[in-house]
Symmetry: C2
Subunit: 399 residues, 2 copies
Amino acid sequence: MSQLTISKRGHHMPPSPIRKLVPYAEAAKHKGIKVYHLNIGQPDIETPKRVLDAVRHSDFKILEYSHSAGNESYRRKLVHYYEKNNISINYNQIIITTGGSEAILFGFMACMDDGDEVIIPEPYYANYNGFAVSAGVNVVPITSHIENGFALPPIEDFEKSITDRTKAIVVCNPNNPTGYLYSKEEMEVLKELALKYNLYLFADEAYREFCYEEKHFSAMQLQGCDDNVVLMDTISKRYSCCGARIGAFITRNKELYNTVIKFAQARLSPPGFGQIAGEAAIDLPDNYFDVTKAEYKARRDLIVKRLNAMKGVYCPKPGGAFYAMAKLPIDDSDKFCQWLLEEFSYNKQTVMLAPATGFYGSKDFGKNEVRLAYVLNLDSINAAMDCLEKALEQYPGKA
Amino acid sequence: MSQLTISKRGHHMPPSPIRKLVPYAEAAKHKGIKVYHLNIGQPDIETPKRVLDAVRHSDFKILEYSHSAGNESYRRKLVHYYEKNNISINYNQIIITTGGSEAILFGFMACMDDGDEVIIPEPYYANYNGFAVSAGVNVVPITSHIENGFALPPIEDFEKSITDRTKAIVVCNPNNPTGYLYSKEEMEVLKELALKYNLYLFADEAYREFCYEEKHFSAMQLQGCDDNVVLMDTISKRYSCCGARIGAFITRNKELYNTVIKFAQARLSPPGFGQIAGEAAIDLPDNYFDVTKAEYKARRDLIVKRLNAMKGVYCPKPGGAFYAMAKLPIDDSDKFCQWLLEEFSYNKQTVMLAPATGFYGSKDFGKNEVRLAYVLNLDSINAAMDCLEKALEQYPGKA
């Protein structure tokens, strides 16, 4: 009998709360049921042809390691992309990463030690947990509430939670999973906290372009906190190329940059083909996002309208990203989402949702909430909402 | 004044010992000096056209996330690749990773906690240090010696170093940086150690195909230690496509596999384009490696002959990979390699080497050794050896 052991962090590493329902979805499909996937942020928008063509028309002979910080040509071009977004940085403040995922991991690893704490408004992107476990860091959630659309919790809630182990705050703006768009004023509050308590402010701005009414205000536009702010970026959602695995770690903090570059050197370089795709994306016409944004906005308006028309359902209108959180008249969102796949169908169709429990750090929160990713077209959203409406009528576990 | 802090692991993370000389190489080039790069394992062999074409001729419309373990089609094909190499595994024992780097990081993270120990024969691949620091793990080096060509140190040396914190042994076979090819008998010794002390045996077989006289014996061919063995693989060197960033974490240990898949889910998926390249590489004709191997063998024979013809130089003949370690009559390999770039030239040319100090975990070891990567053609190797010969005559810091 082997006495080999798994590490503590291996035991603590949470399985993906979104992917754990996948076997039930597969079983439903085997039974001939069509499943509308509103559970995951994989857009149905085509990757721009120009981006794919840049890779397909490339003509190098050897696929070499790039610079550990990424190709200089790409980093220099990214400076212009950020300029257009009113973010002023230099190419040597950018490290190209393997997806936004690696940027988050690098930030956690370089800024925090075992037992340190990072504050994150909840509900939050579930994979922050995985990177925190990898780095031995404890996530301290500050609860935001569906009643006010998941606005930034009051500053007192943050201050109450700050200890001498607190090293950073993470803000995802616009937010996954809530879709909430933090205002300039809210970002200023976070800046004051970061300065007062010497905290890093990690900003995940994966959905920067997808803001429907208000303009996006980036953490990199905050003044007087250059050493505190870290931008964790990704091209995955921006250009619908999640599989490229290209992101960026960006900071004006030189000591931190020099630390993270050592982590980047250890893993040699970010993906080569993906960097070509990312560089080409910067040359897309300025109106590229207009079409995509209009499409997402129409979907948002439809899904929010459909949800709020259902009995006992409440869905605040999200200002950005392509997610909506809804409160449902149910006892347990995990059970409900599994039931949708295992037991329910309507006209041989059903819908797959993400239980909100996976997005809360606080135990037992989110039991009557689900996240819906509006990554399908209007017809599919309507069909999915028809399913949900019927399901709520039939579901035995009412709240 | 900011009181933001860098993590301990951020401070401990070593800069790349190979890349730290790069600024001196750049300065030499600015002075018009040609630099022969024998310092880094970036092959000059062209990536097979078929591999690049698979990416260039791809015709999907959306570059989506793949399965966190990698595309099933790729994993199923890899089973055949391993079969050809007399390694029997299933596709659900494979997790496609972002380079071999991520496979090593996942292994360290999933098997070891802060303060645990991993035993590695030194000199060893310097980036193991980076992954160990990321995981909070201490590397315990067991010294192998140039006098017997860096053969496996005696089993007593291992047993003396095993403590109750020892969790794993890493073996890189054929070895980077020594080029040493471990025999079946030596691998059996490691197996007995792993079984006796309940250790994981992490096998880095990046250079499997590059064995010049003897056949490769994989750790996955060891019998009766399925739970102990982890294969950390990569396509980088095999098909000269380092920039694809595609590797694999492979184990028959189900609990470990299920743990690592959670780490894989947190970072979503490995690179999409690279997976297409990797899958296409498996269809290369069986004789693909014959040409590459013959080329590397000729280079090895030349570089070893040239080195051993120099006064005071000793270079054992490596059995595999594309590295050679040489003992030089010098005081300090770091100083010498810098001097080669900063102060020396011969016919407006010089050579860049990797000081061996970066490959030893024991302090001050390797001061009279350098690593040479024979990744350049025969003419370049001859020119580089001409430079080295002259340099050793002129270098003021004799041993």
